[in-house]
């Protein structure tokens, strides 16, 4: 009886060790992201999360799979709430109901992963390269903004590769939020659009007040 228990214990232990040494990683990001601490501008935006974006599963190499879709939607919802006071989130361009809003269509160009055996450093790294297509509600293109995000996490003894890549991906997503908050209104075309929108809003107010 004791021998059988010992054998079972040895088998379980071996399986745990072997799964820890597995070189493939499948990651699903289920965490929440904090609300951004920022005052949004009194402007309107319609964010189009196309199904290809909200269900995106990154396959940076044949051994790694990161289900990033729903997590990036959660993050961008929070981040855009810190940029625009009036927001609409839709799944396709046809569903937009706002007038005079900035239409933002995010997409992913590429996801890259680097592990300690690649970079000879004790870190796991994830790069997410976003593209934001900016348009008017009439469909006129304003700009196409490339937004790279980066996250890294230290290697830990016996820690699973999936957990480390997942952690690095979460840091990369948080970095995308930080980049957005920091640089979005610094894009010259967006800045010009915001100035023009505020001017139009002021003119509309004057027209309403004057008899």
């Amino acid at each position: 009886m004791f021998t059988i228990k010992m054998k079972m214990f040895a088998t379980v232990l071996s399986l745990i060790v072997l799964s820890g040494c597995s070189s493939s990683a499948s990651v699903q990001l289920t965490n929440d992201f904090p609300q951004v601490l920022a005052k949004p501008k009194p402007l309107s935006a319609a964010i189009v999360f196309e199904p290809s974006f909200s269900n995106y599963v990154a396959r940076p190499n044949e051994k790694t799979e990161i289900d990033i879709g729903s997590a990036q939607v959660r993050l961008l919802r929070n981040a855009f709430a810190g940029l625009f006071s009036n927001l609409e989130f839709v799944a396709s361009r046809e569903e937009i109901t706002l007038d005079r809003a900035l239409v933002i269509i995010p997409s992913i160009r590429e996801v890259q992963v680097s592990v300690p055996s690649d970079n000879y450093l004790n870190v796991f790294e994830v790069w997410i390269k976003y593209n934001l297509d900016l348009e008017t509600t009439d469909g006129d293109p304003i700009d196409s903004w490339f937004m790279p995000a980066y996250g890294k996490t230290p290697d830990a003894f016996m820690a699973s590769k999936s957990a480390a890549i997942g952690e690095a991906a979460i840091i990369a997503l948080r970095d995308a939020g930080a980049k957005l908050m920091l640089d979005f209104y610094r894009i010259p075309t967006v800045n010009n659009w915001a100035i023009e929108e505020r001017r139009k809003a002021r003119q509309a107010n004057i027209r309403e007040v004057s008899p």
């Binding site: 904090p34 601490l37 004790n122 230290p154 840091i171 920091l182």
Partner: protein, 224 residues
């Protein structure tokens, strides 16, 4: 028999003595006085994570936080602060100098949140633990009759961490600390591998935590 026991005892003593880390602390403070901390105020310890090749690990930050907690010092967990103030203390956006901190604190929403959390001092921790050198060899084998490891291996580890204390009310630097901890660990293979590990990182954590604790003096509201 007695001689072999004596030899074994001597060998064990030598190895255990070799397993202690050498730790040096350098401290800089503009004044010799301890930094006053109101009993309602809290401190937050944050790790620098903007360097390319290393990260100040979260485990070390929480270890130093635990060491500081004695003596009525209230320490806010790092992640709680970073989340509350998101995205202004992410690796990309965190202020690297006082000038940037001053600009950040001009934003009323950030200042209000810092006040709401009762954060008076921010301590930046920057550093890592690295393996410098390793030597020896160990081989393990297993067969039908049993198995075992034979050989000897050793490695040197170095922990270097720097702490910088910022006052979030005056927006000034209150002091700096640097800890260097070095030690050698051994692994002896005598059928079973016997490790003699030098706790370099935990020595650095304990030294830094205790020294930082001495930086502050908690004043009760009645004393003020």
């Amino acid at each position: 028999m007695k001689l072999s026991r004596l030899l074994l005892l001597l060998l064990t003593t030598i190895i255990i003595a070799g397993c202690s880390a050498t730790t040096t602390i350098d401290e800089y403070r503009p004044t010799g006085e301890a930094i006053a901390l109101n009993e309602d105020d809290r401190i937050v310890l944050l790790g620098r994570r903007d360097a390319g090749h290393y990260e100040t690990d979260r485990e070390f930050i929480s270890c130093v936080g635990e060491k500081m907690k004695g003596g009525d010092i209230r320490v806010l967990p790092e992640q709680e602060f970073i989340d509350a103030i998101y995205p202004w203390f992410e690796p990309r956006t965190a202020p690297k100098g006082l000038l940037r901190l001053k600009r950040l604190m001009q934003d009323s929403s950030i200042k209000d949140e810092v006040n709401k959390l009762s954060i008076r001092y921010l301590v930046w921790l920057d550093g890592s633990t690295e393996t410098l050198d390793s030597g020896g060899s160990m081989s393990c084998a297993i067969g039908p009759g049993g198995g075992g490891c034979f050989g000897f291996a050793q490695w040197d580890k170095l922990s270097v961490y720097e702490a910088i204390v910022w006052d979030l009310q005056d927006l000034t630097e209150k002091g700096r600390l640097r800890v260097d901890s070095e030690g050698t660990s051994y692994l002896i293979g005598a059928v079973a591998p016997i490790p003699f590990l030098t706790p370099v990182k935990s020595d650095a954590c304990a030294s830094l935590g205790n020294q930082l604790k001495g930086f502050f003096t908690v004043q009760s509201n009645a004393e003020q």
